[in-house]
């Protein structure tokens, strides 16, 4: 795998150099721009030594990797990686954000490094020509010349520089002396373009409106000539004629990966592997974290004096942090495995493979990655849907993403299934869990089929068109660093909210503070049943009772609307799980406590098989995540579809839950 090897060497070179500078706002901004799979990210990692932050563009939720250049001695700057572009006239929302940013004052790059793959020069130079036409000062970096060399071809840099009228550097990442050269070229370029007039939006609009079919064909005709003139055989003399071209690398592998039988088998196997990893590999880690926080809470209470504030700190804050921390293994594993598949080039093949079945239900092969991400978290999944060019298909994808069982539902499923599964048949729990995940997908398919059959929304013709990047061995370091960034981003976004809610809930369940002198209100249980939360719970009890829950379950359910995973922690709080005598982690204690919780009025058990099955149905369908609603509004462009989504999913979930609970009870299931 030549690309993988090249990438690794580039990174190794990165380690050898010294740190030139740290991120500084006054430094010039360098943007890496290029077509998808041109090697931008490899170059980005080489320039920054994989030390980067993900930042948001002003007014946009698209994340960009931004880092200080560590290996450009002559030209300290900030380097920005951008999503792949085919053309400056965008065809999908993610491309639009990149293009818009190029003309926004605050983010406009001072210099551009345009990246093009030597093996598909004419296609990639098309974007470079557009950038030049608009007046961006740029250096052209031609990558993957080692791959080209294997076809006994090389790029004539001097000639290309002359024809394109810009500095050209062919990158062979095996030769680390290229970056100092790039740095010099960039410095000269930047010094020479300081007083230039920056391309304006008006110029861009005029450019875009003049880019018609005739002009595009004309550009390609020029670029075909350029390619012909600069891509030359390595040996040119008549005595040593160039050998015949080898077939394009990776096609042999594609015959297997896209084979009607083996291709499907590999697809199913890799998807099964990801989900197995999420369930089973994460489990010991999750138990560890759960156990750790359980003891941390206990320990804190032991060390600090017995007071209201100690409980607030231990149960409210530490317990809240524990509720976030417990998901980290699953999220990290999902991001890791998806990053691995993406970096190897497989995800594009996966998307092509499922395009036909997905198109039958009103979606697109490009919905595949967003839906798969939906199993981690609906928020990044909705952002990933921006790569779908067709507006209708994008909306339908956005609409059904919340039905994919996100990782926040996992602890709820885990708790309820642990309750339902007989001790002697633990495999039943795993089977039921798989069933729940598949059901999410099935429901999504049903909803999208219904929408695409009955929607009167205006539809553009649908297409797929996707480049399948060359297959290569992923670079572990790049995959790990990227998964780390994504997980950290998720925790930063979801974490504080979860902790705040957990804290707020603790306060609600522990205020008003009972007076110590009153003999009637001693003990935790009495505190909670006189709290504000109790009044709330009692108020909605007529709604929760048909689901089989008392007012305390209702409180936990309300809290679950902030984020689903809060439900488990809330149950632990409202049902006073700390009182349970069990040396397990928090959820272990909760589980043993659930077996003897009773309704206050009639003394019947609350958590019966029918209630738990009902709750599973509710959590599978209901849209209990207000952050998702906010993102859905933004991505779908208005409140209406987002609110329809919220009320439809939650309403259907409630009705089905009541039907399931009452139906099971009529059938004699407790």
């Amino acid at each position: 795998m030549p690309c993988g090897k090249a990438k690794r060497v580039a990174l190794k070179f990165g380690y050898d150099g010294s740190i030139v500078s740290e991120t500084h706002p006054a430094m010039p901004l360098l943007a890496l721009i290029g077509s998808a799979n041109s090697g931008k990210t490899t170059l980005f990692n080489a320039l920054t030594g994989s030390h980067y932050d993900t930042v948001n563009y002003p007014g946009a939720t698209v994340e960009y990797a931004m880092g200080a250049s560590r290996y450009l001695p002559e030209f300290p700057c900030q380097v920005m990686d951008t999503p792949g572009l085919t053309s400056l006239v965008p065809s999908s929302p993610d491309e639009k954000v990149t293009v818009d940013a190029l003309f926004k004052k605050e983010q406009q790059p001072d210099v551009v490094v345009a990246v093009a793959d030597a093996n598909q020069l004419s296609r990639h130079l098309y974007l470079v020509k557009q950038l030049q036409e608009l007046g961006f000062p740029l250096v052209l970096v031609v990558t993957m010349k080692d791959l080209l060399h294997r076809k006994n071809l090389r790029v004539d840099e001097a000639r290309l520089s002359e024809l394109m009228d810009c500095p050209v550097i062919a990158m062979d990442p095996r030769k680390p002396d290229v970056l100092p050269k790039l740095s010099e070229v960039l410095q000269t370029l930047h010094a020479g373009s300081k007083n230039r007039v920056r391309p304006s939006i008006a110029e861009y609009e005029s450019f875009a409106s003049h880019l018609d079919e005739v002009r595009i064909s004309g550009l390609f005709a020029t670029l075909d000539q350029v390619e012909k003139l600069v891509v030359r055989p390595v040996q040119t003399d008549a005595a040593h004629p160039a050998p015949p071209l080898k077939p394009v690398a990776g096609i042999g592998a594609d015959r297997i990966l896209l084979h009607p039988f083996w291709g499907l088998l590999i697809f199913i196997a890799s998807m099964s592997f990801i989900f197995t990893a999420i369930f089973w590999m994460a489990l010991p880690l999750m138990n560890g974290i759960d156990f750790l926080f359980g003891h941390l809470v206990e320990g804190t209470k032991h060390v600090l004096p017995d007071s209201w504030f100690t409980d607030l700190f231990a149960d409210g804050i530490l317990g809240g942090i524990g509720a976030v921390a417990v998901f980290i293994p699953q999220i990290a594993i999902l991001f890791l495995s998806m990053g691995y598949l993406e970096d190897s080039g497989y995800l594009a093949r996966g998307a092509a493979l499922v395009d036909r079945p997905l198109s039958k239900i009103g979606l697109n092969g490009k919905s595949f990655v967003p839906l798969l991400s939906g199993y981690a978290c609906a928020i990044p999944a909705m952002m990933a849907a921006r790569t779908i060019p067709n507006r209708f298909e994008r909306k339908v994808t956005l609409f059904i993403i919340p039905l994919m069982s996100c990782s926040a539902r996992l602890p709820v499923y885990a708790l309820l299934l642990a309750f339902l599964t007989p001790k002697d048949k633990p495999w039943l729990g795993g089977l039921a869990m798989t069933g729940l995940y598949v059901m999410g997908l099935v429901l999504g398919a049903i909803v999208s089929t219904i929408i695409s059959r009955f929607s009167r929304m205006k539809r553009e013709a649908s297409g797929f068109m996707l480049e399948l990047p060359a297959l290569r061995g992923p670079v572990l370091r790049v995959v790990v660093v990227s998964a780390w960034h994504k997980s950290a981003q998720y925790i930063k976004k979801a974490g504080p909210a979860i902790v705040v809610i957990s804290l707020g809930l603790w306060i609600l369940t522990h205020t008003p503070v009972p007076s110590k002198t009153d003999p009637n209100v001693s003990g935790e249980y009495v505190t909670i049943s006189n709290s504000y939360a109790a009044s709330m719970g009692h108020f909605i009890e007529p709604i929760t009772r048909p689901m089989g829950l008392d007012w305390r379950g209702g409180v936990a359910l309300i809290c679950g609307f902030a984020a689903r995973e809060v439900f488990v922690g809330s149950l632990a709080l409202v049902y006073r799980v700390q009182e349970a005598q069990d040396d397990a982690g928090l959820s272990g204690k909760l589980l043993s406590r659930m077996h003897d919780l009773r309704f206050e009025d009639n003394g019947e058990l609350i958590f019966t098989p029918s209630t738990c099955v009902g709750l599973l149905v509710f959590f599978m369908i209901a849209l209990q995540c207000l952050s998702t609603v906010a993102v859905a509004r933004k991505e779908m462009g208005s409140w209406k579809p987002a609110l329809i989504q919220l009320t439809l999913f939650t309403g259907v979930a409630y009705v089905l839950t009541v039907m399931v609970v009452q139906g099971l009870r009529m059938l004699g299931v407790a």
């Binding site: 499907l264 395009d355 013709a461």
Partner: protein
Amino acid sequence: MIKPMQTAQSEMTLDKLLAEMNAVVTGLEGSPVFRRRLLEVGFVEGSQVRFLMATPFGDPLVFSLRGASIALRKSEARCVKVRL
């Protein structure tokens, strides 16, 4: 001089190619949005294109164009007129 019969036989659309067949793009048809996307990806008149394989469900199809592997739905490939 080219006989009319021969022209009729060798003119076809991209979706009709058999595996491993090479062809040259002669033009595009279909909606402006499709035509534009196809052009920008590099399906311009005179381009060499090769049909590599179909995906497991028979659609999309994978083509080799200007050094890249590109997956296109049959409905998109139908917009590309080619000559063998």
